[in-house]
């Protein structure tokens, strides 16, 4: 290729992970003083893996673990990958600030309003919990093709993609913020970072998963509750997948090491929840050993995988 002379690290994938990778890339290029260039694309986790498994990019940003079709494609093309967690993404459930009846929600209640059977039947707040007003409920969620949606349905309803269809979906979370901020009957969910920057327009809802072993009662998402594992089940790790072959190039190796060394501070800066410090260290070791494969066995979003499982090697 014509740009072989320029040392280039190519990354593509999820828009959720994009801000973290972008921050890392920015700092990395400053440190390298322009000797290495990094490109970060957004074509979704699925699109990212598609390119990754064709060998078109070195690293893929993934808001969910690799799926079996993708794993198969990679195998077919002889691409081996190293799975590295980089941060937590808390999923926040939000209502309009004028909403004065919702103090918290249980996972059961969330399921009641989101499951496929709710479509066309659960249309009023009063159907969720007795005593809530007789008003229509308007639901907002991320695009049904997003990792956030995938994870939410799996965590709440039990099966990824299992959801009612009559809610307002958008790829663009700012659009959702706008929707919820202007509609007193709205309820929606999306990445915590969007709440952080729109605190005045939104009201955050604490979630009770009904399991007292990881924190009693309703829990608000925060760095602490997510990291301690008490904000359950709506927090999920996000990943990068590095091609083993690309990792042999010094610039990729350096970049990934830099990533894992700085992901803690940078992910917090852009509104995500950093992993515990030792996890990053172990991830780095895993990378240095070039341990390939996925601990999820190609099943996609999976509950109950502890953070320590992720970096086993």
């Amino acid at each position: 290729y014509a740009h072989a002379a320029r040392r280039l690290v190519k990354i593509d994938g999820s828009s959720t992970v994009f801000p973290i990778t972008e921050a890392v890339a920015e700092e990395f290029q400053i440190e390298k003083r322009g000797r290495v260039m990094v490109t970060v694309g957004i074509s979704g986790t699925g699109g990212g893996f598609k390119k990754f498994c064709r060998g078109e990019v070195d690293i893929v940003d993934a808001s969910r673990p690799v799926k079996s079709v993708e794993a198969a494609l990679c195998r077919k093309n002889g691409i081996e990958y190293i799975e590295l967690p980089v941060a937590y993404d808390g999923i926040a459930v939000m209502v309009n600030p004028q909403n004065n009846w919702v103090d918290h929600l249980t996972v059961k209640e969330l399921k009641k309003m989101w499951e496929p059977a709710a479509q066309g039947r659960i249309t009023k707040w009063s159907q969720i919990r007795r005593g809530w007003p007789e008003r229509e409920i308007h639901l907002f969620g991320p695009g049904v093709d997003s990792g956030t949606f995938d994870y939410f349905t799996k965590a709440i309803v039990g099966k990824s993609g299992a959801s009612r269809g009559d809610f307002t979906a958008s790829e663009d979370d700012n659009v959702l913020v706008q929707g919820i901020a202007t509609d007193p009957d709205a309820l929606g969910f999306f990445g915590l970072a969007y709440y952080e920057h729109n605190r005045d327009k939104l009201k955050l809802v604490p979630i009770d998963d009904g399991n007292d072993s990881n924190g009693k009662g309703p829990i608000l998402p925060s760095a602490e509750t997510v990291n301690k594992g008490t904000y359950q089940p709506l927090s999920r790790p996000v990943f990068i997948y590095v091609s083993k072959e690309a990792a042999s190039r010094p610039e990729v190796d350096e970049f990934v090491s830099f990533y894992l060394e700085n992901a803690g501070t940078l992910s917090a800066e852009v509104g995500y929840i950093p992993l515990p410090e030792d996890i990053y260290k172990r991830a780095l070791r895993k990378f240095k050993k070039r341990k390939t494969g996925s601990v999820f066995g190609g099943k996609g979003a999976k509950m109950g995988v502890t953070i320590h499982d992720l970096v086993r090697h």
Partner: protein
Amino acid sequence: MKSFLDRRSRQRIFERGIHAALLLCASLSIFTTIGIILALFFETFDFFKEVSIIEFLTDTQWTPLFVDKHFGILSLVAGTFIVSLIAMCVAIPLGILCAIYLSEYSSPRFREVVKPILEVLAGIPTVVYGYFALLFVTPLLKSFIPGLSGFNALSPGIVMGIMILPMVSSMSEDAMHAVPSSLREGAYALGATRFQVATKVVVPAALSGIMSSFVLAVSRAVGETMIVTIAAGQQPRFSLNPLVPIETITAYIVQVSLGDTPAGTIEHKTIFAAGMTLFIFTLALNLISNWLKERFREEYR
């Protein structure tokens, strides 16, 4: 005595070369079409191995990304239809009026200034229109249409109509401008008002150009992506109610293009089937318009 025998063989070869090069340029358009069909065909073909074409064309739900999958393109078609319809309801009357004003009423100075300003409307990135629809027009509409959802077909439809207005007005104005002034004079000399000249003489004579502008505008509306992606919500719905969220074919393609769906799965192939539908849609539109144009022209030579 001069001879006409061929003394220019070098020039001849040059001429042939030019001819071939030009032919190549022209036939590139054919290759483009073939390319489009090929780019869409294989995955569409795979798609229809798994989903029956009957379901595709008759089911009224479109939920390929949910657990309970339905592949009824009609919901997306309905969304595309309603938004385009609203856009055309805005763009055609306004565009024609605007064109008539510029071509028949206004001073040349006014036209020279206003026409290009309107054309700038067409050059604004559609992303900008999308946010304008969402953040400005929808709240505005909400204040007098209480039942309006935050995302709906109406607001992006209107904004899209405004966006394609210059296309209609500019091309129609060009067509009207090209109508020989002798025709206008003929009518004025009979005591016709400008209105009568415009509607009974100029518009009919320019009809074929005006129709072309409509067709291009409709195609643009049908194919417009970012405005609807941002402001129409993403709820495929088999309904022609403009007040509720809908999804168009294009918005769906962007959604999956940017989404998490793995390539090679049936969910991913839907975008090619949807793209093919869109392509056939616009093709049909153009063929119909071609036919209309042949039929309704008042040729003035």
